[in-house]
Amino acid sequence: MAWTRKILRVNLTDRTCTSEPLNMEWAHDYLGQRGLATKYLASEIDPKVDPLSPDNKIIWATGPLTGTMASTGGRYSVVTKGPLTGAIACSNSGGYFGAELKFAGWDMVIIEGRASSPVYLSIENDKVELRDASHLWGKTVWETEGQIKSEHQDPQIRVSCIGRTGENGVLYAAIVNDLHRAAGRSGVGAVAGSKNLKAIAVRGTLGVGNIANPKEFMKVTFEKKKILKENAVTGQGLPTYGTQVLMNVINEIGAMPTRNHKDVQFEGARKISAEAMHEPRESDGKAQLINNQACFGCTIACGRISKIDATHYTVVNSPKYWGASGGLEYEAAWALGCANGVDDLDALQYATMLCNEDGFDPISFGATIGAVMELYEMGVLTKEEIGIEAPFGSAKALTYLTEITARGEGFGKIIGLGSKRLCEKYGHPELSMSVKGQEFPAYDARAVQGMGLTYATSNRGACHLRSYTISSEVLGIPVKTDPLTTEGKPALVKAFQDATAVVDSTGLCVFTTFAWALSDIQPQLQAACEGDWSMEKLDLMGERIWNMERQFNNAAGFTRKDDDLPARLKTEAAKVGPAKGLVSGIDKMIPEYYDLRGWDTEGRPTAETVARLGL
């Protein structure tokens, strides 16, 4: 149903819920989800606002294709000013919540203010109310979802909520829906927690409507699904092996950030890879992976459903973890594993379950543990301070630290601050492997040069999903480029950034782009949405969204010096592999990138750029 043209505005301070029409002029310039929600946020808050204050707002936003029959059309984004970075935060989730919100008749929910006591928002089509959540405060994501469903006596309610970490102000707390799909990054969960908002529970029965050209939409979405099915990556690779298939690829090319980026290859990678998840365990003869899973309307189904070894030390006395649960994705396996030198697959599965159960980002968490382990090995942090011996490679330390972070106990409170604040606190800011305060994901910027520029310029801090140049530099999609060179990378990164900004605003999953170009998405939008949705319009829109986010960050106080990588990646060369001897060429790429973007040397969009994009 393209847009429902309705926004739900909820003021927690006043405890009011009001319906207002969607600004359709903005929808034509910013589409939906990431683009449109950022437009609302940037227009309504002061970019300098304290992210955890009542003056910040937080928006749950669908796209025009969310809830439709377009493949992967189940996505929603949570947009706010992020507490981990102080920059714009936009985290995207799948599962079934986004489509349900649309079925209830809402494009977006804008949350303002702060409730005086814990509440959750209940949405049943037009019936919207804030309900007391005192009894849910202190509960995990899994408990919260179960309890809300049972209170409403409706198992079909979809819940998007925070766990204990969101309540405790963990700066990378996530918002989780459908038990293990998460708007994972940048601490959007901490913003919800700061507002005393535990959950949004939604049940929608209004179905789909408002498709501009239904016959054409059915035809074109069918044709495009065929492309996904016939493509070897989206039709076979992702459903069978999931994202975790990258573990051995990235290790082989020597781009695996290992032990807090001290190394670029991890000797234990094979043991924690997709291939290992598929093979029978020595202990019980069963494979960890039991199935794949799809989000709403998705014909790819890359999700992992796994079962931990019930005799593993982490769960032997905790039967609640023995059942099927969300399994390891590549980013989580990397951050919990390689970043810390841990190669115990079931320990990683346990840690990833705790991240889902209490709603925190495994990337930022795992990477922070990498810094803790390095500080421990240097003697800066001690066993007494941490609560356990924590050398690189210790699965016991990893799982213990995951538990205390989930519960907000002891040293877990400091881990919850993220690596930047933690490393500063212990006098070694240089050991935080982050950009703008957000930790790196799973690709080393020395061995994949375009990713270095991706991280440095990402509007939400280090992130792979803002321009996944791994597609081109490693996997050859759509064309193969050399990962070791900086040449051509500013243009490549810009193209990926702009195209992804559009995809993230449609309601579709970015994984479709392993098979689809933007020109495959364009006719689906054109059939669903009224008006002109030409490629020229979409290209310009991607650029507009990117520049709008940039302007928000500039106004929040970010400058050129924030578009940088930690010194380790610029001075300590890769020790092995194809990138041996190389450091990141970030300083070379930035000026060319600014130039291509139409920004001045300080990274500000020029007046001409602002005018060209209609900002």
Binding site: Q236, T243, V474
Partner: protein, 84 residues
């Protein structure tokens, strides 16, 4: 000379049992053996031979036939895969 063939994802089916848990298959080959020779010898389906790396370096399709392997080279091959 000694080289190692690594096969991953669905190509793992072409590994002998003893190599399945590591995906690494060390072998003796004649001097001058090329990437293309090894792919043919082990009857790896062409549509599954997608990402081809020698010692981590990408070998483009056009060079595979003639690319000579040298002592201790590691040839790693994947079908079309992606992640994120």
């Amino acid at each position: 000379m000694r080289v190692t063939l690594k096969l991953y994802a669905s190509l793992s089916d072409h590994l002998p049992d003893e190599a399945k848990r590591t995906n690494e298959w060390p072998m003796e080959v004649a001097d001058g053996t090329t990437v293309g020779d090894l792919i043919d010898r082990h009857q790896l389906p062409k549509r599954l031979v997608h990402l081809v790396l020698v010692n981590g370096h990408y070998i483009p399709p056009a060079s595979r036939e003639a690319h000579p392997l040298v002592e201790n080279d590691v040839l790693a091959i994947w079908p079309p895969v992606a992640g994120g």
